[in-house]
């Protein structure tokens, strides 16, 4: 029994979180109790219950049992899919999620909330069940850990008495009575009596790996004989098993089991350590959320195909080399074949790279899916009528990008619902439909992923934003800004504290944080808004963070990479365009603009500043609205580079955005243009 359960538990948790998401989505889509939707929800709950039971999360399994029973009733038409029932189920989903999080991270779920929701579900069941026993159910619910036969709506003790006497070597074959009892627990109220007669008298005869115990179990509930039999299916040949109906035998010596489980006895027979899941990983496990991912099987198949092609190309190249050895006279023809082969190899490698990169790409639906619930909840609280439309959920983004996208998006959608959309009467007064529209759309454009959040709410009042910005000192009294520029001020930190903006026409709360997060992902965010008509936030993000198109260039005898996207142009200096400021700061006049010339070798502390040669090569690059002209010695090729961070083994190095490995195995630094612009302006004595 030394199988490492941790890996399975991780998979179970991951699947359960997905199941919960699914339940949530379907619950929100549940329109008047569509049977197919209910079936889907039921199946999700059922899987979670089963998994939780298997992995020893008894409380979760017990809790889900109630949810499942309720869903089953709805599925059978015994209970209506009324809005309050749906809301209760949504709440149960939240509670389950909290419990699963606690199971993963080793924390504690809010016991009061769990008990309350559980009681509510039991009460709901009690109401609906014609001969229900709400009182009993309540008792069970309050007792916490144990499972309740929530559907035990018959009278009188019904069930099975099970005599189970395993042979001594039962446990050696990997069977564990404890697990079987846990499954039995789910079938009804279980009481367990353990017989210890077979325990050897002296310790010498005691083999701890033998099973010396026998049990008499009493299971109350509606379980059929087959269901009970199934539990013992694997051990029938390794034990003496007798299953008889409870009311068939009435041995006077047997205590009549009470209707509720006996906690003490239960505790004795099911000593499942609640700390087990917590102890299994420590801090390492907390990262589990991001360390594993699900990949579409089609992508893996494509990868396998490509590796197959690569193998073929390789054998073709080997063949050419053999031919050359055998018959050097046909060298011309072979060289031609070699070229073709290398061309193949290049194509294979590129496709393989693209294919591997695509594995990291996940549909943005994983983030979008949480919004129907969010909008449902907030609009309910605020008394607004809002219709949320999701578009392009299957647009793919890099996994890392997506993980960091969730919080900013929640913020923006919340803002749209909270501040953008007006109350129904306000909307009616303005001649708009009472139901407000919020649209969340994702699509690819160029090398970017674009996400738009649109609403048809009241829009933003640029004059008030400007007034606030002037008050906060963000804008000088005589500074003139156009409407677009004014709107972007909402992303400024000074405008973002809650009390300052709550009286504005909305937005702004934490918008600086949103912008910072998006910038951190290498993207940007813009706001457009029209008073009375609504607002549109546009987020642009790079497709992936780990690869980019780079321009290789030589400075001194070193090779650097500059992101192709940052390059404005490359040029040879015209002597008359080089100007000096303060006699030492060289500027280059490009059309009507003066751009500082940066001597990178000096800026990076490699050499002493050197005077600009007569005809120098400059690369004009731009980032964060700042332009610099880098003095370079040579322009090499352009190629895709894989970005590696220096922080893994060292730290962030100012002026660099990481490093990459070139074809010859050498490391080349990737230049951070914005950082270089800052360095050049801050440390001009060394730079110029």
């Amino acid at each position: 029994m030394s199988i490492d359960m941790a890996q399975f538990i991780d998979a179970f948790l991951e699947e359960s979180f997905e199941g919960l998401e699914r339940m949530e989505t379907e619950l929100l889509a549940l329109d008047g109790g569509d049977p197919e939707t209910l079936n889907t929800i039921f199946r999700c709950a059922h899987s979670i219950k089963g998994g939780a039971g298997t992995f020893g999360f008894g409380a979760i399994s017990g809790f889900t049992h109630g949810v499942e029973t309720l869903l089953d009733r709805m599925r059978n038409g015994e209970q209506e899919a009324a809005p309050e029932t749906v809301n209760l189920l949504l709440r149960a989903v939240d509670t389950l999620r909290a419990q699963l999080h606690a199971a993963r991270d080793g924390g504690e779920a809010d016991a009061a909330e769990v008990a309350e929701v559980r009681t509510l579900i039991e009460a709901h069941l009690g109401d609906a069940a014609p001969t229900g026993r709400p009182a009993d159910n309540h008792g069970v619910a309050d007792s916490g850990g144990a499972d309740a036969p929530a559907d035990g709506n018959r009278t009188g003790p019904r069930g099975w008495r099970i005599h189970f006497q395993p042979y001594a070597d039962l446990m050696r074959t990997g069977n564990d009575p404890l697990r079987m009892f846990e499954v039995l627990e789910e079938l009804g109220t279980l009481s367990v009596h353990c017989e210890t007669d077979r325990l050897p008298d002296n310790a010498d005869a005691f083999d701890p790996e033998d099973c010396h115990l026998a049990w008499t179990l009493e299971l109350e509930g509606d379980a059929t004989r087959d269901q009970v039999q199934e539990v013992f299916e694997w051990v029938e040949d390794e034990s003496d098993l007798l299953i008889e109906p409870l009311d068939a035998v009435s041995e006077p010596t047997t205590e009549a089991p009470p209707l509720t489980p006996e906690p003490a006895e239960m505790g004795a027979t099911t000593p499942r350590p609640p700390e087990a899941p917590a102890a299994r990983g420590g801090s390492g496990n907390r990262g589990a959320e991001s360390s594993s991912m699900r990949v579409n099987a089609g992508k893996i198949d494509a990868l396998i195909d490509m590796v197959g092609e690569l193998v073929i190309t390789q054998s073709m190249l080997t063949d050419i080399s053999d031919q050359l050895e055998e018959d050097p006279s046909k060298i011309e023809a072979q060289i031609e074949r070699l070229r073709t082969g290398l061309g193949e190899l290049e194509r294979n490698t590129r496709e393989l790279q693209e294919s591997v990169m695509s594995i990291r790409m996940v549909p943005i639906a994983q983030v979008f899916n949480r919004f129907p619930r969010l909008v449902h909840d907030i609009s309910g609280q605020l008394g607004k009528q809002i219709e949320l439309t999701l578009k392009g959920e299957y647009t793919e983004v890099d996994k890392t990008v997506m993980e960091h996208l969730g919080d900013p998006l929640v913020h923006l959608v919340r803002n749209a619902v909270d501040h953008g959309i007006e109350m129904p009467d306000e909307r009616a007064a303005a001649g708009k439909p009472e139901t407000g529209q919020v649209t969340l759309e994702a699509f690819h454009r160029g090398g970017n992923v674009v996400i738009e959040i649109r609403d048809d709410g009241k829009g933003m009042d640029a004059d008030r934003i400007l007034a606030k910005a002037r008050d906060a000192g963000l804008v000088g009294p005589n500074q003139h800004l156009d409407r677009h520029e004014i709107l972007q001020l909402v992303f400024e930190p000074g405008l973002s504290t809650a009390d300052q903006v709550s009286d504005l026409s909305g937005r702004g709360v934490g918008m600086d944080v949103v912008k910072k997060n998006i910038r951190g992902l290498g993207g940007n965010v813009e706001l457009e808004s029209e008073p009375g008509k609504g607002s549109r936030l546009t987020i642009r993000l790079p497709l992936t963070l780990s690869i980019m198109d780079g321009q290789l260039l030589k400075i001194g005898d070193e090779t650097f990479v500059i992101p192709l996207i940052a390059i404005v142009e490359s040029l040879q200096t015209l002597p008359e365009s080089v100007k000096q400021a303060f006699g030492k700061l060289p500027l280059y006049r490009l059309r009507d603009e003066y751009i500082p010339i940066v001597d990178l070798a000096a800026l990076f502390g490699r050499t002493e500043p050197s005077p600009l040669p007569e005809r120098a090569l400059l690369v004009v690059a731009e980032a964060d609205d700042q332009r610099v002209a880098l003095r370079v010695d040579d322009l090499l090729g352009q190629q895709q580079v894989v970005i590696k961070t220096l922080e893994t083994n060292f730290r962030k190095v100012p002026g660099t955005a990481g490093a990459t490995i070139l074809g010859d195995g050498q490391v080349a630094l990737i230049l951070d243009i914005a950082g270089i612009a800052r360095m050049a302006s801050g440390r001009d004595t060394r730079a110029a």
Binding site: F650, T656, A659
Partner: protein, 173 residues
């Protein structure tokens, strides 16, 4: 010296004894916990990093990983040495608070592997130089040779990484 080594290697993990890989710097012998040694490589020219202290020689590619290279002589303020065929880089696993890092240290040559008991480690005297006393786990004597046993987590830890510039400023002041 090879004899000494065989003697000490064939005395496997006696209770309370740790194994140390020793290396030579200017004819002195230094030891590091052998469990932290990931591999030993020959010297290759690293890609220099901008505006870092002289002892950070740059970064190299170790099977797709970018690893910084630290020159121990320069780190300890010793005379620099030309890199030659025997110059080696020891790849060490440095355990920090947040994560583990891999760093390479340039030394003159790799020497021996010794088992040294904790009892045989004497506390280091105050060196009062660039080598802070906290970098030295202790002094040991093996076959009449003095070995300075280094604590690499302190030596190559956050101090070196975060305040490399500060250390440099302090050293040049």
């Amino acid at each position: 010296m090879a004899n000494d080594a065989t003697q000490s290697i064939h005395d496997p993990a006696t209770a309370g004894e740790d194994q140390y890989l020793t290396f030579i710097l200017a004819e002195e012998e230094y030891g590091v916990d052998i469990l932290r040694v990931q591999e030993i490589k020959g010297w290759e020219r690293p890609t220099p990093l901008p505006n870092t202290p002289d002892y950070i020689r740059g970064v190299i590619n170790v099977r797709g990983m970018i690893v910084p290279i630290i020159d121990m002589r320069l780190r300890f303020g010793m005379e620099p040495m030309d890199y030659g065929p025997t110059t080696v880089v020891i790849m060490l696993r440095v355990v920090g608070e947040e994560r583990e890092r891999v760093m390479g240290v340039v030394v003159d040559a790799v020497s021996e592997v010794y088992s040294i008991g904790a009892d045989n480690l004497q506390p280091a005297p105050d060196f009062g130089t660039r080598i802070g006393v906290n970098f030295v786990r202790g002094l040991a004597t093996v076959e009449e040779q003095m070995i300075l046993v280094l604590d690499i987590d302190t030596l190559l830890g956050p101090g070196l990484i975060a305040s490399a510039d500060a250390i440099e400023a302090e050293a040049t002041a």
